[in-house]
């Protein structure tokens, strides 16, 4: 501290001390002035900076725009066509603290943006927050009109909106997202995390779906659903070598760009989530099991003269031949009696074993969240074995069913179905049937189309094989006679199978052209035929001479790899 001069010193020295103090004081005052002057200069500089040099609003927008990148990867079809993408839009929000005239603001917005609810708007504009959404994803015109209103407290947030340029075309596969771009159905849901993760790299998610094939299949199915006044329907195309799905359609479907318009039925994926007793198409497995297990051979036969009566149940044929039927005839004429007898021959254990290996007793291992659990009997009695032989008693999803058929015709190897594109090197799979059994089944399925119930599915030059299935839908404890599930599974080209095409119609009605019949042979079979006709050229398959018989080709061996289309030259 400042010391007083010691007492008793001469006054002249005291005067000196006073002068000294004043001199220091003057210096220090100058320093204080310097300090304050510097502070005021700093303030003036900052003022100029904030008012003139910095565009704060612009900075905020720029940083917002720079930070804004699509936060979700695109989804493309197997050829790279865009299926789900991102569109930059502006969303309107308010800072209610800055909205001074709530009623006026609400009135003006109501007049500009259709579809707003006034009550809700007024309530939102008064919430004690600094941020409330008013309307997401405005069009540029709407944005301009709102901006022109010049309302205080309102601003736009740039964001990306998920768009599906193909509308409903692959809606059940791709699924959809909610307003905050969280996947809530389909691939969007099951790959939600991955799509977000990939957003940075920009690498799109590639589906196995071929949009051209998807369109052709959907178009034909839509026509069939309309023609037969069906409740709905489903169809798929699966590559038998890889398990990839090239098309997957369930009707009715929905436009993922406008999910609010979709009802529950439209959001239901019949092909993967629905499980059905599919009927006679199941006889394919009965014959395949019989041949592969050695319980029967192509040369054997069963007596289908009389219906089988067992417990309270009678098994009869829909179009009884009432005679002894050879094994091929059982499939060609779709004999329930013959199939049931054959199943008794190989037995319940063998049936369960094969159905399990064909993937029919557990959920389909596909990447979609909408996958139905198959239903099978418990306990599994002999009567069940017999009805399952012709497709009643086990309910499976159409996708599961098609994958099992794929196994039967591709040489006997189960390939799990997928909606994502598989690279050639990475094919999961396990052998279920012998190549010989598979080869035999190809011939039989071709015969069904040539001579049996599937005639209307034939397409000259493409050697379609397949099987019809007309099931009565389960109603309560019994079956409804007039509520049919008509389906046809087609395979082509049968001499060297490449694709399984499956179409299903839910409660089709007969027409004058079908003489009132709504059965698969009259409804689903011709639908599959038309699908094959349209997609074969897209898939690069040339037509083959009609004289080529499956048996001839089969003589070269059961494999189907690397043989191309040499047969076409014959």
């Amino acid at each position: 501290m400042i010391d007083a001069p010691p007492a008793g010193q001469p006054a002249i020295l005291l005067l000196g001390a006073r002068e000294q103090a004043l001199r220091v004081g003057r210096q220090r005052l100058a320093l204080v002035a310097l300090f304050l002057g510097a502070a005021f200069c700093l303030i003036a500089g900052r003022l100029v900076e904030l008012t003139l040099l910095r565009d704060l609003a612009g900075e905020r927008r720029a940083s917002q725009a720079a930070a804004l990148k699509p936060d979700r990867a695109e989804i493309v079809d197997r050829n790279g066509l865009l299926v789900a993408g991102n569109l930059a839009t502006a969303s309107l929000y308010a800072d209610p603290r800055l909205v001074f005239d709530v009623d006026g603001t609400a009135d003006k917005l109501m007049a500009t943006l259709p579809g707003l609810r006034r009550e809700e708007l007024v309530e939102r504009l008064q919430l004690p927050r600094s941020f409330v959404w008013l309307r997401r994803n405005l069009t540029p015109r709407q944005q301009q009109e709102v901006a022109k209103l010049g309302l205080s407290g309102l601003d736009f947030q740039a964001e990306y909106r998920r768009v599906y340029p193909l509308g409903p075309l692959a809606a059940h596969v791709v699924g959809l997202t909610d307003i905050d771009k969280r996947g809530i159905a389909g691939i969007e849901k099951s790959f939600d995390a991955e799509l977000r993760g990939r957003a940075a790299g920009g690498e799109p998610l590639r589906l196995s779906i071929d949009i051209r094939v998807q369109h052709a299949v959907r178009d034909e199915l839509q026509r069939a659903v309309a023609q037969f006044r069906a409740d709905g329907g489903g169809a798929l195309v699966q590559d038998v070598r890889t398990g990839e799905l090239l098309a997957l359609v369930s009707l009715p479907d929905f436009d993922a760009n406008d999910p609010a318009a979709a009802d529950r039925d439209a959001l239901f994926n019949r092909m993967t989530l629905g499980v059905y007793e599919l009927g006679s198409v199941f006889k394919i497995f009965t014959l395949a099991i019989g041949l592969d297990s050695g319980a029967t051979t192509l040369g054997q036969g069963y007596d289908a003269t009389r219906p089988i009566a067992i417990s309270h149940f009678t098994i009869r044929d829909d179009h009884p031949k009432a005679r002894f039927l050879t094994v091929p005839e059982i499939l060609i004429y779709s004999s329930n009696i013959g199939a049931a007898k054959m199943a008794v021959d190989f037995g319940t254990k063998v049936q369960q074993h094969y159905l399990q290996r064909l993937g029919l007793l557990q959920r389909a291992p596909v990447e979609l969240p909408e996958v139905g659990m198959p239903l099978s009997p418990s306990p599994w009695r002999e009567i069940n074995t017999m009805t399952i032989a012709f497709g009643h008693g086990v309910a499976v999803s159409p996708l599961q069913f098609a994958s099992a058929v794929t196994t039967v015709v591709n040489g006997g190897i189960y390939r799990p179905p997928t909606v994502l594109r598989r690279e050639p090197g990475e094919l999961p799979g396990q052998r279920v049937l012998s190549a010989e059994a598979s080869q035999a089944m190809r011939g039989l399925l071709r015969q069904v189309v040539l001579q049996g119930t599937g005639k209307k599915a034939d397409v000259p030059g493409f050697h379609v094989g397949g099987k019809t299935g007309t099931a009565e839908k389960v109603r309560g404890n019994g079956y409804a006679r007039r509520s049919l599930l008509s389906s046809f599974v087609g395979v082509f080209p049968m001499h060297e199978p490449r694709y399984v095409v499956y179409a299903l119609l839910d409660e089709p009605q007969g027409t004058k052209e079908t003489h009132g019949y709504a059965t698969a042979g009259w409804t689903a079979a011709p639908t599959v035929g038309r699908m094959v006709e349209r997609i074969a050229p897209l898939l690069g398959l040339p037509p083959v001479a009609e004289t080529v018989a499956v048996g001839e080709l089969g003589g070269r061996g059961g494999g189907n790899e690397g043989r191309g289309h040499k047969v076409a030259a014959q």
Partner: protein, 374 residues
Amino acid sequence: MLSLARTDNSVIAHWWWTIDRWMLFALAALIALGSVLTMAASPAVAERIGLEPFHFARRQIGFLLPAVLLIFFISLLTPRSIRRLAALGFLATLLLMVLTLVLGHETKGATRWLSLAGLSLQPSEFAKPFFVVVTAWMLAEQRRHDGLPGNAIAAALLMTMLGVLAAQPDFGMAALVASTFACQLFIAGLPYLFVAGLAGLGVVGAGAAYNLSAHVRSRIDRFLNPESGDGFQIEQAMQAFGSSGWFGRGPGDGIVKRTIPDAHTDFIFAVAAEEFGLVLCLVIVLLFAFIALRGLLRIVHEDRLFTMLAAGGLLAEFGLQAVVNIGVNLHLLPTKGMTLPFLSYGGSSLLALAIAMGMLLALTRRHQDPGDLP
């Protein structure tokens, strides 16, 4: 304009020729600006809290005449009378401050106000300038051959003042009072070693306030990291400056005054910027700088330590208060409830400033009878 002859020997004429007229003009300009800005900023605030729009403006203008008269009459006094006035005033206001702690009403979490005959008074505002003059007296007294132990008395007074302010609590004013006192010690020739020590003490004090007071802590945290809390007032102030440009949006067209709660007090500078632009803001800064610097450079030629310390202290306090308030508005400093001298709304503040400036003018008059001052 006054036309007074140099030879006129009346009190008024003597006053006119000895007073710092430039300073007087600058103060008049500030007071006029303050009235205009109160008219601009306060109606929005009054409306928002449900008062008649010109409630604040009317009251502020009501205080205008008393303030001008106070400046005039106090500036007539001699330095010796100033000293007496300050001593008595300090004792009286200190008493009122203690009384406030007991009887005062609480506003926004602090007990600073005393109701007196229908008027709300903030005694600490009045104590502030008196305290500066009293400590200047005591520090000067220490230098006298047979004077009082001034240093010790000044230190004791400071502790009392800070104690009462902390009890209210009013950390902003406590910091201002302490800083002003430090300035006076500095001018009084405190060795640089002690200056460094004092600066250290300031840091420790700030640290203690940060650690012990949740209020202070949140203010500082928000300044350092605006994302963490709602820097709403600051955010709005930034928008005000951003949208002002050279001449602002125009009188009455401001927006932030409708959202900032303290638009008419702590954030009047931002309102001024938004409505009147950079030019007026620079004029305001220039006026404050002019008053502070002209005053300080004028008393450099003073040959009485008391005058040097008292006027220097008053000017430092005035300058610091302006710097802190504008600094907060410009987001250079953490939010601190400090008013902008003469521009912010507030009767106590205006009258106390009138007293302070009256004393300053009195102390800086020329050709006075020095009496027996040190």
